[in-house]
């Protein structure tokens, strides 16, 4: 997988760890959460979930529902991306707020605000609709940020000559979007869409199986099927569910993503032919088909020509941008003042809500953060312990890679959240089984990112460096120290950033479990959030969610961003 196409916004601006835009972004997040918690006060105390059928013949319908949710969230993500990315890329003033906001939003552990979104929505909407919308919102937030970053980044890196050419040949906004911006960003958009879908499955499963206390927010779908199967201890249903999931992922990969990648190859900017271009049997099949040719020459091309002609007539390129009039500028100030005033008021309200929390509980939250941090680190270390040796082994042995890569990809495609119930079923009986299960669940959410990145890093080590190391007769340890570790370091960091985010996320589901009707919980911030959700303690829910978000943002800025820029500057192998 070519990881260089991924975007990690946390490393965008480098230099200073914080800017005033960050402060604004954090305030904005506080206000959003406060509004959710405020709404949640009216949430029904008891919510009954749907009945989930364990018949295998129910699976196609459940699969369709799950894929539908993913698709809805993905379309929403694309729309958001186009608008937000463009706005940030072309408006220098807006960019100063929009980009830090995006950066803070993307480092927020998504599951941490699932309870707030669910409760808030269930207060204003019918229960099943609330759960549907919440799941789509949740998947949206897991898919959208990297897409938006990718789009913003490609818009801001369009070479100057292309922009000048499109100016001098008078391409209006529409023609520029169609002929320059979209093609230029296409490869990066396709790659990031694939990543987004992979991440989306994880959260879809989590949203489908969310139950706390007497509130059952489950949705009919693949995730709920697996959850119910594990609850019922129905092994054959578990196997059917996992089969349906893997099959769906494989089918999407073969029929959607691979063809898209093969198609998008023509959008690369490099002026040389690709030595091994991405291939897809399905793409080859349809691109040669008569139906496709007929569609193109009789439908798509004429339609696109008509649309272009209309757009060119209707919106001719303006020679000079219009300067805003006095009243427009005045209006801008009024809007700004109203927004800032509203923000200030809501922040004050949020603070008022949280001051009611006793000091002792704040102490608990601090300890909880540390406990969860410990689990996150432990799971990261465990993940590194097996992914580094295996990843380097796979990455440096093309033959092994050819066999193991597909297997690893299928295994990784099974979202860890889908397996939570199954894992718990086995481990709960062991001594301190809950603690071990929690760490294992967090590990399952983190390891694949690391493994893929390490494989990519190891396979990118140039052959001549490997030969040199051999000729110099370096010992195994020296070879690791001088060649392998530095070479995979940037990839390792990229993987670890995503992995630690995944582990924080998983803590919410992993630290608080209902098993056989009784509540099992660990000390940890994730467990506090789940507990507050179950008890309907909204001030605590707000405070603990905020605490987790702030902790993660801080760690990102103070640790990961530094390591990332170190990796980029020192250990990136160019050319």
């Amino acid at each position: 997988m070519s990881k260089e196409k991924l975007n990690f916004g946390s490393a965008q601006s480098g230099g200073k760890a914080f800017s005033w835009g960050d402060g604004f972004a954090v305030l904005f997040v506080i206000v959003l959460l406060y509004l959710g918690a405020r709404l949640a006060f009216n949430a029904p105390a008891e919510i009954t979930g749907p009945d989930i059928s364990l018949e295998p013949k129910a699976l196609p319908w459940y699969t369709l529902l799950s894929v539908g949710r993913m698709l809805a969230a993905y379309i929403l993500s694309l729309l958001f991306t186009m608008v937000y990315g463009r706005w940030a890329a072309y408006n220098k003033r807006a960019e100063k707020i929009l980009m830090p906001l995006l950066d803070v939003l993307q480092s927020v552990p998504i599951l941490s605000f699932l309870p707030i979104v669910l409760l808030g929505l269930s207060a204003v909407l019918p229960e099943n609709m609330a759960a549907e919308i919440a799941s789509i919102v949740l998947i949206f937030t897991s898919q959208v940020w990297n897409l938006t970053f990718a789009w913003y980044q490609s818009l801001t890196t369009i070479p100057k000559e292309y922009k000048e050419a499109s100016n001098i040949f008078r391409l209006n906004r529409w023609m520029r979007f169609k002929n320059l911006e979209l093609p230029f960003g296409m490869i990066s958009l396709v790659w990031n869409s694939m990543m987004s879908w992979a991440g989306g499955w994880f959260f879809l499963m989590a949203a489908e199986i969310f139950t706390v206390g007497k509130r059952d927010f489950r949705l009919p779908g693949l995730g709920a099927y697996l959850h119910e199967a594990a609850n019922m201890n129905n092994i054959s249903a578990i196997l059917w569910g996992i089969f349906a999931l893997v099959a769906t992922v494989v089918v999407l990969d073969q029929l959607v993503w691979n063809p898209l990648l093969a198609w998008a190859d023509k959008f690369k900017v490099e002026m040389v032919e690709n030595e091994n271009p991405p291939k897809s049997w399905f793409y080859d099949l349809i691109s040669k088909g008569k139906i496709r040719n007929w569609l193109y020459s009789k439908v798509f091309n004429p339609l696109s020509n008509k649309l272009d002609a209309f757009m060119i007539r209707r919106y001719p390129m303006k020679s000079a941008p219009a300067k805003p009039k006095a009243w427009q500028r005045g209006l801008r100030y009024v809007v700004l003042v109203v927004v800032l005033g509203g923000l200030g008021f809501l922040i004050a309200q949020a603070v008022l809500m949280m001051v009611k929390i006793p000091g002792l509980t704040w102490g608990d939250m601090g300890l909880g953060l540390l406990a969860t941090l410990g689990r996150v680190l432990l799971s990261l270390i465990l993940a590194l312990a097996w992914t580094v040796p295996l990843g380097v082994y796979i990455g440096t042995n093309p033959k092994v890679s050819a066999v193991l890569q597909p297997i690893v990809q299928v295994m990784a495609s099974v979202p860890a959240t889908a397996l939570f119930p199954v894992v718990l079923l086995v481990m709960i009986k062991w001594p301190s089984g809950l603690e071990m299960a929690a760490i294992l669940l967090m590990l399952m959410g983190t390891q694949w990112y690391l493994l893929f990145n390490i494989i990519a890093g190891a396979s990118a080590i140039p052959q001549d460096l490997k030969h040199t190391a051999e000729l110099m007769g370096l010992s195994k340890w020296e070879r690791w120290k001088t060649l392998i570790l530095p070479a995979i370091f940037p990839y390792l960091i990229t993987g670890a950033i995503t992995a630690s985010g995944g582990a924080w996320n998983a803590s919410i589901v992993a630290e608080y479990q209902i098993f056989d009707g009784s509540v099992l919980k660990l000390k940890g911030i994730g467990s506090i959030i789940s507990h507050a959700t179950a008890e309907g303690d909204y001030p605590l829910l707000l405070a603990s969610t905020l605490a987790m978000i702030l902790a993660v943002v801080l760690i990102n800025r103070l640790l990961w961003r530094k390591l990332y820029s170190l990796a980029e500057e020192k250990y990136r192998m160019e050319n």
Binding site: F169, M175, N179, F267, E273, K570
Partner: protein
């Protein structure tokens, strides 16, 4: 014909504000008449590309007026087209689609659009390649598409931004011939051509008029008509005389040391930039000069003898002059006794000669003084950059530091640690 197509009056291009205000081009007055083919020549960084962007309306001048056919130019000039150095063809569009796109935005409908695009491609000799993608073509063919696309909009003013400099020697030469054929033969509806070039021979070969610019700040220093009839012979004495004269104008004259050196940053007056040139290149030129009779050469001849480009050659002569290795007058360069000594010296002795000369340059003197006063005789790169950014725009300041470090390392004047980004005064023991 005396209808001025284009007129520039007191045009300035400035960046930044306050103490950090930098001038890219200064007080440009220029007019271009119908039927003229003018070339803009000058060293890199003289603002010739900026001027081209002002003329086409891609950039707005910060001061002064630009008229097109007597009307003030607002926004992108609808009567101009550009052929870009890097071609700027959309890689995802086929050759035909690239050309059609320019026609489409003009409102030309199918089927005339494709017909016209194919016609244009035929005219530049690309028939048969309509469905190819740019990446399948050679550089020369790509630029032909660039020309076809520019001509598709039937521009009155055709702007060429170093159109041949990314091409190999042979395709550049044949494409120049083809352009001239189209232009002189009146086969294109274009009224005037403005070409930015960094190649003196190319400009003299093609243009009726050569406008010469100099840098720091960018300004026009000469405007020469070229009256030779086409086709011009590169080897003819008249042709070579003009090339020689242009080199004379561009390479300047060796002046007194005070004028050559400029002043240190922070002092009143102009701080002269160090030419960004690796020292090994310079040794090559000096060795070549030292072997010539009397150690003298026509600068324009050196371009071919050293197999280099005008830009690079001008940088070489400027550096040699600055370090006192050579003197320049009227387009001739002569090696000095110091330069001769340098050319004959061993590698280590060369470093010493260089160091003793370089220490006298105001910019290096200034940095040395700062280092001596600094704690541990060390300075962070950032500190130097901040000090320099009062004199130069950010990018230039970065490049100046790179050159300072490169020169300092070569002359063993100071060290630089890339990890910690610190410049350290070289221990005196090494030098004595």
């Amino acid at each position: 014909m005396n209808d001025a197509l284009l007129k520039l009056e007191n045009v300035y291009m400035e960046y930044g504000s306050g103490a950090r205000r930098f001038t890219a081009v200064e007080n440009i007055n220029l007019d271009l008449k119908s039927g003229e083919f003018a070339a803009l020549l000058g060293p890199s960084g003289c603002g010739k590309s900026t001027l081209l962007r002002i003329v086409t309306g891609l950039q707005e001048a910060s001061r002064g007026r630009v008229y097109y056919r007597g009307e003030p130019l607002v926004g992108v000039n609808p009567h101009a087209a550009i052929v870009f150095q890097s071609f700027a063809l959309f890689p995802w569009l086929s050759v035909l689609e690239n050309v059609s796109l320019a026609l489409k935005t003009k409102g030309v409908q199918e089927p005339e659009r494709s017909q016209k695009a194919i016609d244009l491609l035929d005219r530049v000799g690309l028939d048969g390649f309509e469905s190819a993608y740019p990446r399948e073509l050679s550089g020369g063919m790509r630029q032909k598409v660039g020309f076809a696309r520019a001509m598709a909009v039937e521009p009155e003013l055709l702007c060429l931004d170093e159109p041949f400099s990314a091409l190999d020697v042979l395709s550049a030469e044949s494409l120049r011939g083809e352009l001239l054929e189209l232009w002189v033969g009146g086969k294109i509806p274009t009224k005037a051509i403005l070409m930015v070039s960094h190649n003196i021979e190319e400009a003299v070969l093609l243009a009726d008029r050569v406008i010469i610019m100099d840098k720091d700040p960018g300004r026009v220093i000469a405007d020469l008509p070229i009256d030779l009839a086409h086709p011009r012979q590169r080897k003819s004495p008249e042709f070579q005389a003009i090339v020689d004269m242009v080199y004379g104008l561009l390479a300047g004259q060796t002046r007194s040391e005070v004028e050559e050196f400029g002043v240190a940053p922070g002092e009143p007056g102009i701080t002269r930039k160090l030419p960004s040139l690796p020292m090994s290149d310079l040794a090559g030129m000096l060795e070549h000069l030292s072997e010539l009779p009397e150690g003298k050469a026509d600068i324009y001849k050196l371009e071919e003898e050293l197999a280099t480009t005008t830009d690079h050659l001008l940088l070489l002569t400027e550096t040699a002059e600055l370090l006192g290795y050579a003197s320049i007058a009227k387009g001739d360069i002569a090696i000095t006794p110091l330069g001769q000594a340098y050319a004959d010296a061993s590698i280590l002795a060369r470093k010493e000669i260089f160091a003793s000369r370089a220490r006298r340059l105001p910019l290096i003197k200034w940095l040395l003084q700062m280092l001596q006063n600094a704690e541990n005789q060390q300075l962070k790169r950032n500190v130097v950059k901040t000090a320099l950014s009062l004199e130069f725009p950010d990018e230039t300041a970065e490049r100046q530091i790179d050159t300072l470090i490169n020169w300092g390392r070569y002359g063993e004047i100071f060290e630089y640690d890339d990890k910690t980004e610190t410049i350290t005064l070289e221990n005196q023991r090494y030098n004595s």
